[in-house]
Symmetry: C2
Subunit: 385 residues, 2 copies
């Protein structure tokens, strides 16, 4: 097993891309990443995507995107793990390069959701939950997160308004990200008045349905400097899983999949939470951000929200999160999200995050969650000197 | 990179399983494979599946099946490459074990199609083709194969009846496979009278819509003998891709994806067509069997059908194909098919194919095709002495 580096990144703006197709979105991100890396070929392509079948009537994205990107003939598959599909595809690419079965691998996460807004998108997203025991009972994705949020407030004595810092922080950072969907700040007052979606989850607790694609190019670390001016080492790539259905979990207030995934990542990288300079967590809903901070070791049980309330999640805080807007403000094109997170960590480690730069960022972590915690893929990235 | 072995296999009967769910199908095959291998745990699970979203309202099969199989917590993803999803998942498992990122990996291909027979299944399957340029124009999967078959007959001067040997051979072998969907022989006369589906593809040119699951357990080859009485070495695992749309191909009469995939597999295994004792090819339609024989080097261009007409595809022929019934008689639960093919090759190499045993089978090849040739995954398996 050898070290792996990211030698190029690319992304499209997140938004409602009604004028271009799924394959064009993927192409735009892929071409940007390959141009950034200065490579024209690859040994394999892995595509992270969840909903192309349900919302675009298209499966078989591996060969489709490979061909459209001028890579006809190479190994190419789609990897799916619900909203964790993007990082799952990266994990497969990492395995191929680390195991010396491929040298140059391109990975793209892509999702096009807004051609079918409304009930169809909600139904499609519910396929990330347990179809027989959750979705079929009417438990949509937002409903499951609402139950978790309600329970969190009850168990630990928080008010709904205590969740405001996650939205405020994400939107503040989104303003400076040209690829973000929402580039406006929100105040705690606006959070308090936001439209209720599914009590207690309001509009600003939620990430938007949207389109986008993000990509990276992987190479063996020992040739990364020869290929790239600013390579980033993949210090860890790890996965943990849990039951899909929330009611099957050991404790609904603990993301066991994230605990396992993060522990494996820390062990592989030889670091701990104190070494992480920024954490791109999976804030599909505010409650997921709180639970993620706890599962990753940045807060004790019930204290994840406290970290945010204490102002520690800002760019100059103890653990900056959603530094480019997160799922909430950058947007959450589900199968692409994990790749956006990784691209953003690379930007930070390269010192290219502009007004959102975390000072002296050396080690960053991206954590992509499928479902309400059933698949958790964690990557720790490190600046290569 | 190290050698990889299959130390256990399992499968469900192929058919219309209206009484059990997708997860139960997967479980049955997985448990059989893990019992066969004598292992109770695994480092990772990869699930090959194409249509669970469209036909079962369920994505996120990796974590779902892992949890249901008692493997909660392990790395688990779904891998999709249309009808090539099964072998694509195996390829990912192979990469993980060969690259030393995992020791014991379980792979299951599963598909449940018959809960929504008819137009829904046909529409869902069309997602394997190019949605914008084929499916949206009304070109269903059978229609695309009909065009290829018609062209083949025109180019090389065959009659439709010349394709009969593929169906006759597959059904003859299916009779003795307890896991096959269709266990009855068909005659050339019956083939001639079979209901026309989409001219010139008739019912006996086509594989059925059905349900099933098949699984294997992978381990490093150097410990395989300690774990299994009859391990089988994965001598090659290779992928080739092509354009999804048939009209985008270099030559519609050549499966370039299969040419590339097979060449890579032969190179990796250090063998050629003359060394292959049996070939589990992807006879989703008769025309695919003919084109596969050519692409894999068993016949010159336009001569694939001749191999069958000359009686060389039978159990005692030069190159036995579909030895346990193939897609036509065993059945084609699309995302599971690639795993059934591999399980059947293992049965042959272990000498456990019963009445269908290929004498002294030492090296077998399984080739799983996604779409009408856009993803081709080839595995060459070898008996370990």
């Amino acid at each position: 097993m050898r070290d792996v580096a990211i030698i190029g990144v690319g992304q499209t703006k997140v938004g409602e891309h009604w004028d271009i197709s799924l394959r064009h979105l993927a192409l735009e991100a892929l071409q940007a990443a390959m141009t950034d890396a200065g490579v024209a070929r690859a040994d394999a392509l892995y595509v992270g995507n969840m909903l192309s079948g349900a919302l675009d009537g298209q499966e078989h994205l591996g060969a489709l995107v490979a061909d459209f990107a001028g890579l006809r003939g190479i190994e190419a598959f789609k990897v799916e793990a619900a909203c964790g599909s993007g990082a799952a595809a990266l994990r497969m690419g990492y395995v191929a390069v680390a195991g010396e079965l491929a040298d140059i691998v391109v990975v793209v996460g892509v999702e096009k959701m807004t051609d079918k807004l409304g009930p169809e998108a909600t139904s499609a997203l519910a396929m990330a939950a347990d179809g027989d025991y959750e979705a079929a009972q009417g438990a949509s994705f937002v409903a499951l997160n609402a139950l978790l949020m309600q329970r969190y407030m009850y168990e630990y004595g928080y008010s709904h308004q205590d969740f405001a810092p996650f939205a405020v922080n994400a939107h503040k950072n989104g303003v400076n990200n040209p690829y973000a969907m929402f580039r406006f700040p929100v105040t705690t007052e606006r959070f308090a008045k936001a439209k209720m979606i599914c009590t207690p989850v309001n509009l600003l607790d939620s990430s938007p349905i949207c389109d986008g694609a993000a990509a990276v190019v992987l190479a063996p670390a020992d040739v990364a400097h020869a290929l790239s001016a600013a390579p980033v080492r993949v210090a860890a790539s790890a996965v943990g899983t849990d039951a899909l259905a929330v009611h099957d979990r050991r404790d609904p207030m603990v993301l066991d999949g994230a605990v396992v995934s993060t522990r494996r990542a820390y062990e592989q990288a030889g670091v701990g939470p104190q070494d992480i300079d920024l954490f791109e967590l999976h804030d599909a809903f505010s409650i997921m951000a709180a639970l993620s901070l706890e599962a990753a070791g940045f807060a004790d049980k019930g204290q994840g929200l406290r970290v945010a309330l204490d102002g520690e999640i800002g760019l100059e805080g103890r653990i900056p999160v959603t530094t480019m807007g997160g799922l909430k403000a950058r947007g959450h094109p589900v199968g692409a999200t994990g790749m956006y997170q990784v691209v953003e960590v690379v930007q930070q480690l390269r010192g290219l995050a502009g007004a959102n730069q975390v000072q002296d960022a050396r080690i960053g972590m991206a954590q992509n969650i499928g479902g309400s915690g059933a698949t958790v893929v964690t990557h720790i990235l490190e600046r290569m000197e």
